[in-house]
């Protein structure tokens, strides 16, 4: 029988094909994009050049570490208190306006923290309208300085609490009222039941939310720049662009990356715990604790206050400023900034979503530890602060450029300039590394909802590989892809440090314009670009609240 005499090469060839598939290779390639910057940055930690390190240890690190510590502690505590209390009220209790506040308290997510920062400084600074008015009424009055540690913490808390709010609210909604009733039937008062049952049950979610906030705080560049509050991100920027010392920037980045890793470990650990404590279904509207007497209106007042301070006042002030300046600022340059922002955000959104689709499919094809690890690494970039990625991507590119420049000079006797450095490619790679996870998560979660038998059904008819992705998965993933493109788009629109540090000459975006105007204290002139960012930022919130409906 001819088929009995199977070619041995065919057999071994088949085995090899299973082990090394194109999908593994692609996904490894994507992971490299994140691993190279991390590697470069960590390498500089292992090879400190002593004089730079000494300068940093004496002059930079103590202040930066101190500032970072208080900022993380303050914003972490503040967002936890604000987020959990608001989540409890809108998630479990019933009071006037509860339904409205449930979604509107997410609105501050649309404001980049640095926008809220410059509005706060513009409003509350010595020369701002609030203090000016107070002085004209009461003469000289003492006013807490907004440009202070307390000021940064306050602004970042107001900008970032929605992360904790969103996650904690989900926790309270899914744990339902049953656990509380059980506690009450055992003799707990409602107040004690909250502290003894509801809060401990929701703890993994709350910790995960706070961990996210901490990562955002560590990654923040724009807000602390507005306040001139030196943290790692601004120190990296200054080391590179004021001291012109890439090694110093790398050294600082390496310390920051270690702190970030600690936050990642915290977040990942709680994430696995969430999986085991998730119980119950959302409690229906009639199953809520109805607040009585003065506490009803206290709850309404509290929610209204936060919404006003964190969203209504900043947006109102922005619109006011924008109205004052738009006649002169809405010129060709503004359209240029907008065009650059849209182009970069759109390009990155499409690229990141396509790449995310490929690695999500790779993860589906090969369900083993190696593949999971590769994809985990590939999506680690979301935790890396922009300045770290900027130096981490730029350093190897600069090294490669120097190699080519030296090579051509030596062998061809021709002087050439940078080949890759200062091109769009560098910036796009850094964007991709940073925002891949943003696109990956919705695509992957949609992908996991497609049963594997669908793949088998297509496979049995000979449809596989890219053809299966195109004919079967892509049409089924439309919703996830749309979410991915939108989220990446908005994140790139708001991105500041990577753009600032790696953009080619002339590629100024709306965020860069805001950075430049706020650096000069021209708050009004930063308002017009900020309005565009806020409008873009509203899109994902609409998506989020619409999804929350079903």
């Amino acid at each position: 029988m001819s088929t009995d005499l199977l070619d041995i090469r065919q057999i071994t060839g088949h085995r090899l094909a299973r082990k090394f598939s194109i999908w593994r290779l692609l996904s490894l390639l994507v992971a490299t994009l994140v691993l190279v910057p991390i590697g470069v940055v960590l390498w500089s930690l292992l090879t400190p050049s002593s004089d730079i390190w000494e300068h940093l240890v004496v002059n930079v690190l103590p202040g930066v570490l101190n500032n970072t510590f208080w900022l993380v502690l303050g914003v972490g505590t503040g967002t936890a208190l604000l987020g959990v209390s608001l989540a409890w009220l809108t998630g479990v209790c019933e009071f006037p306006g509860q339904r409205f506040f449930a979604w509107s308290l997410l609105l501050p997510l649309a404001l980049p923290a640095y926008v809220m920062a410059f509005v706060a400084v513009g409003l509350l600074d010595f020369t701002g309208p609030v203090q000016t008015a107070l002085r004209s009424w009461f003469g000289s009055v003492w006013f807490p300085p907004i440009r202070s540690r307390g000021g940064v913490i306050l602004v970042m808390t107001l900008a970032l609490y929605p992360y904790v709010y969103l996650i904690a609210r989900n926790a309270f909604l899914t744990q339902g009222k049953r656990a509380l009733e059980a506690a009450q039937s055992l003799g707990c008062s409602r107040r004690r039941a909250f502290f003894r049952v509801a809060l401990p049950l929701a703890r993994p979610w709350i910790v995960a939310g706070v961990a996210l906030v901490i990562m955002e705080t560590l990654a923040d560049f724009g807000t602390v720049s507005v306040f001139n509050y030196d943290t790692f991100t601004t120190a990296i920027y200054k080391a590179w662009f004021s001291l012109f010392s890439l090694p110093a920037a790398l050294q600082l980045a390496s310390v920051l990356i270690l702190i970030v890793f600690a936050a990642i470990v915290l977040e990942q650990q709680t994430r696995t715990r969430i999986r085991y404590t998730q119980t119950g279904r959302p409690s229906p509207q009639h199953d809520r604790i109805i607040l009585q007497g003065w506490s009803r209106w206290a709850a309404t007042l509290y929610c209204a206050l936060i919404l006003t301070v964190a969203f209504i006042i900043p947006v109102g002030q922005l619109l006011l400023w924008a109205a004052q300046v738009y006649a002169q600022d809405l010129d060709a340059r503004y359209w240029g900034f907008l065009w650059h922002s849209l182009l970069l955000a759109g390009g990155t959104a499409l690229t990141a979503s396509a790449v995310a689709l490929i690695i999500a499919y790779a993860g589906r094809r090969h369900r083993d530890i190696a593949m999971r690890a590769t994809n985990r690494l590939a999506t680690l970039g979301y935790a890396l602060p922009g300045p770290v990625l900027a130096v981490g991507v730029y350093a190897p590119v600069a090294w490669f450029d120097n190699l080519i420049i030296d090579g051509t000079r030596h062998y061809l006797h021709i002087e050439i300039g940078q080949v890759l450095g200062g091109t769009l490619l560098v910036m796009l790679l850094a964007y991709l590394a940073r925002f891949l996870a943003v696109g990956y998560n919705p695509i992957d979660s949609h992908m996991q909802r497609i049963t594997t038998s669908v793949d088998d059904a297509a496979h049995i008819f000979g449809v596989r590989g890219f053809a299966m992705l195109r004919r079967v998965h892509l049409p089924m993933l439309k919703g996830g892809l749309l979410t991915a493109v939108t989220l990446v788009f908005v994140d790139v629109m708001k991105e500041m440090p990577i753009t600032l540090m790696t953009r080619p000459f002339g590629w100024d975006t709306l965020a860069i314009r805001i950075f430049e105007m706020t650096a000069e204290g021209e708050w009004q002139r930063a308002a017009l670009p900020a309005v565009a960012l806020v409008l873009a930022g509203l899109i994902p919130i609409l998506l989020l609240t619409r999804n929350g409906d079903h």
């Binding site: 029988m1 001819s2 088929t3 009995d4 199977l6 065919q10 057999i11 071994t12 088949h14 085995r15 049963t451 038998s453 669908v454 088998d456 059904a457 297509a458 496979h459 049995i460 008819f461 000979g462 449809v463 596989r464 079967v472 049409p475 089924m476």
Partner: protein, 351 residues
Amino acid sequence: MAIINMSMLLELKNVTQTYGAQPVVQDLSLALEEGVIACLLGPSGCGKTTVLRCIAGFEDIHTGEIRLSGSIVSLPGYCLPPERRRISMVFQDYALFPHLTVAGNIRFGLDQLAPAERTRRVEELLEIVGLPGTAGRYPHELSGGQQQRVALARALAPRPRLMLLDEPFSNLDIDLRERLGIEVRELLKREGITALVVTHDQREAFAMADAIGIMHQGYIQQWGTPYDIYHRPVNRFVADFVGQGTLLPGKVLNAHQVQIELGVFEGDFSAPPGAMVDVLIRPDDIVHDDDSPCLATILHKTFRGAEILYTLALANGTRLLSSVPSHHDHPLGERLGIRVDIPHVVAFARK
């Protein structure tokens, strides 16, 4: 078992498949003639779906071989890709493509045909499975039973030489299961398709299969006709898994006779004369007979529609199950005359 024979459509010979260190399928052999509908029946986790996936080419095998129409398709280290085996599969969750219409789903496997031919075949198939006029509908607009038929039509479309069905009716209502089972059997027979069905539901297996293999812990315990599986189980597992029944203590008299409380019965016994054995009595072996001198007390009864299942106690306390037409309705505690009607009894060695 499994003598390699050129007329067999599907042959598995000593196939083993392991998942990690744990064997899922062990030393499994079976052979299907063309046109036969066979069924692997077993509790969940017995490895039956893995057998199907090995035959389809989704899984490698670690020992043995799989042949289709005599040619090897799987060996350890070699696995002909599924699309080149000319087989098709109906999945437990149907695995219909939700973004394609009914016609789009059925057409999916017909790429090699000319467009006009494709459309003709789709219409023909919808006629065969009894869903004419649904070509433009989407899967989510159809009922579970209709989706099932679309999945069947899609699997039939490329005229496979073997069709594999993985728990094909488990997502349907119990009433619908048996009816569809019979319908699908008729359809497959009409089209002359050889099929292997995997299920944990014996009624489904009985409704569909010419031959049934009982699987447990990776092994095929027994391979036979539905009648043999039910009335001549080869071991306690098969006796227990298929149908209901009681085991009564008995004593082997000789190679063909066994003595139990209800009398002496015929069978084939390997145990030596005098050995104590357990004799299998099915509920339908015990017939209600008012003239019988043998009386049993009714302890419990379950009304099942067409029949009543009585739990009876003999004089010495031994319990029996008896299935009686439901017109024979007797109160608890009454003493019922019974007669045993078994042409051939099965006995297992005492544990």
